[in-house]
Point group: C2
Chain length 340, copies 2
DNA sequence: CTGAAAGCGCTTACAG
DNA sequence: CTGAAAGCGCTTACAG
């Protein structure tokens, strides 16, 4: 492997000049010299040694992509189609800017702080934050640029990109209300523990009140994650005397589980139960009937987060911003007018 | 941040001794010294500087996780539940061994070779190889440990972990044949271009011959990827005069598309068409009826690949091995006996 | 079992 | 616009 030193020798300049050419500091090198050096660089297929660069500059151009461990099975995080898509877009955006994504799953904030120092990581982005206490501790203790997706704390200076969850919950409920539903339920894991889910729930309540529909606490279900939670909830609903005619789930996978649970019991969807999901992820188009859901632009969210992260990396005073992206109702086949 | 030098000063030993303690070279340090150094290390929360380590040792403990870019939308790779799960397991295995995963999507072998040199990456693992020519070139030109999943070339020394695709195709076809089906079709993207898919197809043929069932070239469909390909194929099938009663798809998403396509046209699955998928990935349990599929142990595959990679990293003479993991039929609800 | 020294390949002030 | 020198924090032979 060729080094800067060898290139400098061949070009008859100092290593510093070669370094300046590589780093595009055109103000520090005459165009003629720069051109000559560039040619020699190309001729020898010079490849930068990032370890050496990191050691001397204290910046690695590594971006940490953080995925909390849910449950014990630490592979489950990327199983979520939303997480996979998000990581894919982030990788793409970083590659274009010549940054390098390292992925980490973690349970405790301390693990993240250690690895940041180990690699002098320039910035991190937290996807699908889980336990609020861990996330809060991480934000508090991090002394590097960190962008958090889908979570926001009032009491802490932080960089966050989220969606308008309350509006999402509202749009979902309104869709059902406009189709005549008055018995509408909500299913989510840990409604109180997650501010995001709680916001969706608040939006749901907003719409019910606007339309003068009753809230029935029996129709608010606490579920486990993913489709298992939805299937279980479907069974509970079908066993009730007084059932909701429409359900809103806090994520698509739970909504898919609802649909499956109802169908497995021999009832049709949406006729027996209208269902609305959240996220517009892959599974929403996979099932039959396809899922009406609250759509967000995952690519836009990724790009916004990356933009915010790079602003924070280049400007140490930029450490507080909250961006809230819009959501929309994606109407598919899992909702129908209520029948009398 | 504390450095080895400061630790050495406080312990009254040389930096080399501290380095040996950190790296666990117990043969080179007396137990008493080691213990004392370890205490000081802990007291100061010493964190290793990997850039310095990489620069001097030429080994980074970074493992490249390679995901080819499919289509133009480079986020789509991790959208695949199989890829997400695989990356999750790999990350877990690396974290335990104190290695670090960097992910890269790429279109050309050259990009991979460059980034390997840039970071002195110790080894790489290629997930979901796509174009055989790119994969072949990469294996040929790589001078570092590289494990390739789900692809094998006879003419090249390489490290690979795959599954018994031919047996999978056979098991799928036999399942239908044993239930009385004699009109069975096969759908996959680019049957000839991918050796993996071709093997599945060969297994399918094996079973047909064993049971004396006719092969009908009209029932072998070339499809685009993912569920769109399945839905389109379902429409084609339903428009045929002489239809298959059972279909085998080369991946679960295509099988899900088949199911959806048939259901959307108003016919029941499996009564109108029995469907078998491949991979036992998330969507197979998400849809109704749930998908009968060929199951593989993704975690075992990930662990096998990682094991092979580490053997190659520690032993430069270990550069050729092929492991083929077993598959099994996972019977769910998308297959029924043929009716006369 | 322990150490002094050289070196890995860059970048960063500092001078001119 | 260009350079000489120091230094980033480790590991690696080489000696003893």
């Amino acid at each position: 492997l060729v080094t800067i030193k060898e290139i400098a020798a061949e070009a008859g300049v100092s290593v510093m000049t070669v370094s300046n050419v590589i780093n595009g500091n055109s103000a520090r090198v005459s165009p003629a010299t720069a051109e000559r050096v560039r040619e020699i660089l190309q001729k020898h297929h010079y490849v930068r040694n990032m370890a050496a660069r990191t050691l001397s500059s204290r910046s690695s151009r590594i971006i940490g992509v953080l995925l909390p461990v849910w449950y014990e099975d630490s592979a489950s995080m990327l199983l979520d189609p939303y997480a996979g898509q998000m990581v894919g877009y982030i990788e793409e955006a970083l590659r274009i800017r010549q940054y390098y994504p390292m992925i980490f799953s973690f349970k405790k904030a301390e693990q993240v702080l250690t690895v940041q120092k180990t690699w002098q990581i320039d910035g991190m982005i937290l996807i699908m934050p889980h336990q609020d206490d861990v996330t809060h501790a991480l934000i508090e203790q991090s002394d590097f640029p960190l962008v958090v997706l889908d979570r926001y704390f009032e009491d802490l200076p932080m960089l966050s990109v989220g969606i308008d969850d309350r509006k999402g919950g509202y749009l979902a409920a309104r869709c059902l209300l406009e189709k005549g539903h008055r018995h509408i339920g909500f299913v989510a894991p840990a409604i109180q523990a997650s501010s995001v889910i709680h916001d969706r729930y608040l939006g749901f309540q907003d719409a019910l009140r606007e339309f003068g529909a009753d809230e029935n606490p029996d129709w608010v279900f606490d579920s486990v994650f993913h489709q298992e939670g939805g299937e279980e909830t479907a069974r509970k609903i079908l066993a009730m005397e007084s059932r909701p005619t429409g359900m809103i789930a806090s994520e698509d996978l739970i909504a898919c589980g609802l649909v499956r649970g109802v169908q497995e019991a021999g009832f049709p969807v949406p006729e027996a139960l209208s269902v609305i999901g959240f996220d517009d992820s892959l599974p929403s188009r996979l099932i039959s009937p396809s899922l009406t859901t609250i759509g967000q632009d995952i690519r836009e969210k990724a790009m916004t987060a990356i933009g915010m992260l790079f602003q924070a990396i280049s400007d140490p005073s930029f450490r507080v911003q909250r961006k809230v992206l819009d959501v929309r109702l994606v109407e598919r086949q899992s909702v129908c007018p209520v029948r009398r």
